[in-house]
């Protein structure tokens, strides 16, 4: 089955106006808070990584019809089923029927602060020299990926300039597929809006994104 991300919406038309909201309310319903907490706590079981979570969410067929915490909920259920922690029957019944599988860790209340403080840094030691340097012209890969990627469609096959070298980081594309961390050099690449949007672009508008080295070739 071809890999389809429904989350790659940068530049797409037809979604209407943005609805700002004042600073303050963090959650709009109690269940949203539970979903956030369940996502973090179950992530601590170590049965998947953040890139696998993103992949599970973006491939939900009804992604664009769901609210954001619904996306998180459905993505979490999908991962739990895929990784064998639960069955869909158990979730529909709301009752455990099979014995649990072993997990790396069960997050306890007194471990939460340490878990959040530690985070999950993605920078790794560099073992190869960076291929590109600031100021260098590059072009992004043209072909769509057949798996999770962080190269958005709207910057595919576009010419830009390397602005900053960000070190070597866990490569999301490999990590999401369970192919290990496969660390790669990461760069901030900047595009003039006209390269992305043609004649509709207004002067003085640029867009940058963070690109792993395999997304780029010299231009």
């Amino acid at each position: 089955m071809p890999y389809v991300s429904h989350a790659d919406i940068g530049g797409r038309r037809g979604f209407g106006a943005v609805v700002p909201e004042p600073e303050g309310a963090v959650f709009h319903a109690t269940w949203e808070a539970r979903v956030l907490a369940l996502t973090i706590a179950l992530g601590a079981t170590g049965r998947w990584n953040l890139d696998m979570s993103r992949s599970a969410r973006e491939t939900l067929p009804d992604y664009l019809d769901l609210t954001y915490y619904e996306i998180w909920l459905h993505g979490l259920e999908k991962l739990l089923i895929e990784k064998g922690l639960v069955t869909s029957d158990e979730l529909s019944a709301g009752c455990a029927r099979l014995a649990p599988v072993p997990v790396d860790r069960v997050l306890k209340a007194d471990q939460v602060a340490a878990l959040l403080a530690k985070g999950a840094p993605t920078e790794r030691a560099s073992v190869t020299p960076a291929r590109f340097k600031p100021g260098q012209r590059v072009r992004t890969r043209r072909t769509p990926a057949e798996h999770h990627t962080r190269l958005p469609g709207y910057v595919r096959g576009k010419r830009g300039v390397v602005e900053r070298v960000l070190g070597t980081h866990v490569f999301a594309d490999s990590h999401a597929q369970g192919a290990g961390e496969d660390p790669q050099w990461l760069y901030t690449v900047v595009f003039d809006a006209a390269e992305l949007w043609g004649s509709e672009a207004k002067p003085g508008h640029s867009v940058s994104f963070d690109a792993w080295e395999p997304y780029l070739e010299a231009a």
Binding site: A7, A109, V112
Partner: protein, 200 residues
């Protein structure tokens, strides 16, 4: 309205079922969920980022450290960790405006801004900010001079961006705390400006 109500109840039932099964299987400690929620409801939010910005406004050496190594500079104020492991601060200036988006999901600097608002994660913001920043900014009530250059930062990797808004004029005598009160969440995303003195 009634339909909306029953829709919500379905989601609530689904979340409750998930939490019940996870607890029965011993994968989670419900008390840990309460601590997680309390953390993001009461401890981690945009007031953290506002303190960072206010410090940068009053302390040129801190500002310099913030622009050079934001992760370390922000940690000086005690903010670090999940979704803020690799921070970059970008400063607005006359003629230069920065704004942050995550077109692919909802990447956001949690330790300094807390959890993202609904609009930040919404399809309209994610789809349009990279293409028509002036149009989106107008929906936030922000109109920039035509000569101002706009940079849109799409957070596609694990680097998280914090915008340092321009310090409002007429704030020379204000304390760091009073300055922080002028720094809005939106001004640190780039969809707003810092408040003027007396503006609410």
């Amino acid at each position: 309205m009634e339909e909306e109500h029953s829709e919500l109840s379905n989601v609530e039932r689904r979340v409750r079922a998930l939490e019940t099964v996870m607890t029965q299987k011993g994968y989670i400690d419900p008390a840990a969920l309460d601590v997680l929620i309390d953390t993001y409801q009461t401890k981690v939010g945009p007031r953290n980022g506002a303190r960072v910005v206010a410090r940068a406004w009053v302390d040129p050496a801190f500002r310099e450290r913030l622009l050079r190594d934001a992760t370390a500079a922000i940690a000086e104020l005690g903010y670090s960790g999940r979704q803020g492991e690799h921070m970059i601060a970008v400063a607005n200036a006359p003629g230069r405006h920065n704004v942050v988006v995550c077109t692919l999901c909802s990447c956001y600097p949690w330790p300094v801004l807390g959890l993202p608002p609904v609009w930040y994660k919404s399809a309209p913001y994610r789809s349009r900010m990279v293409r028509d920043p002036r149009g989106v900014l107008a929906e936030f009530g922000v109109t920039l001079p035509a000569s101002t250059e706009i940079r849109v930062w799409d957070s596609t990797a694990e680097v998280r961006y914090l915008v340092i808004p321009e310090r409002p004029t007429g704030t020379e005598g204000l304390s760091e705390e009073a300055l922080a009160a002028l720094v809005t969440r939106d001004s640190m995303i780039g969809t707003g400006l810092a408040r003027a003195v007396g503006e609410t």
